[in-house]
Point group: C2
Chain length 273, copies 2
């Protein structure tokens, strides 16, 4: 294979990373807090599940290697807090969808935390951009994220803080970079992610907390027409934690006590990692 | 941003290509034949459409730059025939779905043609792997191709030459790396690609030929239950041209005269480029 890039001219590489060629890989975005990665066990568990479901090649002793990389990055950057992102791909291979002799590749980045995301007055719109529907890939944090990019750009043009995304069945799934919880007709619920969406670590932590506290939260199919009955809404992701929404689709929402207790538990370190 | 890779250790890059991070880009796979790229005008037209629909940044005078890169690659590789692949991404940027100050990147590879794909006895299975459903991205040759990778791996494990893919609505869409045409109850048809799939260059050339020859071919929704009535089937892509299928889902198909005339026109250079 011969490769031309405007930056580097002509080279004769063995291959190109399938992460770039096809989005053939997965990623994890993790919070570094006081020098340690929050919920690292859950992130590694999701990684293992994704590796299995996408039949990605395994890397021997990967957990140790990852921890070593994160420690080295922390030292180089001089950071105790930040955002750690792992990209894990099927690796370098020749042309064509079929992986032949691919060796897995991984990349870890560490970024400083930017200004804290707002925790009050969050304004959420409904995106025109659909979330993909593909049952084998649903729930996984794979690298095919063009829909999220398009939704985030739509969000920017709308001037909202986030956008809610639905799939082709008109099922409510998630926001562009968050999972969502709702109070609908007095019931706490969160979208089922069997057909679309990412099964978030913070979502799992919130569900575990609800189960521990005896708070009923149903993971179920939520159709578009139910959105008219949403009275409260919670966004979750691993970087920002749980946050309540103030305005949804132009309508003011109520601040919910159950959501308050989840947020309080998160802020006081009482959500299981 | 700090980056760790097991290959290169720690670096402090400005950014990581969004093609790798999110599949945030597009590609074109083109046939180099006797020193020239077949159907380059159509490939560039699709590229422009994709740039527009995904709001990718444009590169000034890109056509000239691409032609220069292809010429340089041909010379370096000493090839008159091969496969040219262009990857065009939203470019390098920091963390997060929203592109901020992204500068587009592009990569061109040239590979020698491998052994010619078989033109007889093609055996096609039906994949379990679904093709994604997302209307804004349908038809485009974007970099979110994990479903095609999974389908191609399934094909390999089935021992077939290709696999037909359907979406979550049980609509027949395409094969893992080909578009498809069928004869169903005596009628020539090809799946509509409004919700899923890639709108292939060879598909467009075949449709143009049909229109010129007065052959009726309807682009329409084809449901799974219609597959029982398929009597003939044609696969198309830019590298392999049009090819008839011998066995589909374990059932022997007929060789169709209209498909023969399309293949003959392709082989004798009478399909409009």
């Amino acid at each position: 294979m011969w490769l031309f890039t405007p930056q580097a001219g002509i080279a004769n590489p063995a291959n190109l990373d399938r992460g770039l060629q096809f989005g053939d890989g997965i990623f994890e975005t993790m919070l570094l807090q006081n020098g340690r990665v929050v919920s690292i066990a859950r992130h590694l568990q999701r990684l293992k599940l994704s590796i299995l479901r996408l039949a990605l090649p395994e890397i021997a002793d990967f957990e140790t290697k990852l921890q070593g990389a994160i420690s080295a990055l922390q030292q180089a950057a001089g950071l105790q807090n930040g955002i750690v992102k792992l990209i894990y791909t099927r690796g370098a291979a020749g042309r064509g969808y079929l992986p032949i002799n691919a060796e897995p590749c991984w990349y870890v980045t560490l970024n400083a935390l930017t200004a804290a995301a707002p925790h009050q007055g969050l304004n959420i719109a409904i995106a025109e951009t659909q979330v993909c529907m593909q049952k084998q890939m649903a729930g996984l944090k794979h690298l095919n994220r063009l829909e999220n990019v398009l939704a985030r750009m739509e969000c920017e043009s709308l001037g909202s803080d986030e956008v809610l995304m639905l799939n082709a069945f008109d099922q409510v799934i998630e926001a562009s970079a968050h999972n969502v919880f709702f109070i609908i007709r007095g019931q706490l619920c969160t979208p089922e992610l069997n057909l679309s969406g990412v099964s978030g670590i913070m979502r799992a932590r919130v569900l575990d907390f609800c189960a521990q506290q005896g708070i009923t939260c149903s993971g179920r199919v939520i159709q578009r027409d139910e959105l008219a009955d949403v009275t409260s809404m919670l966004l979750t992701n691993s970087i920002n934690g749980p946050r309540q929404v103030a305005v949804f689709a132009g309508r003011s929402l109520q601040q919910d006590n159950q959501f308050d207790s989840i947020i309080n538990a998160y802020q006081t370190g009482r959500l299981d990692e």
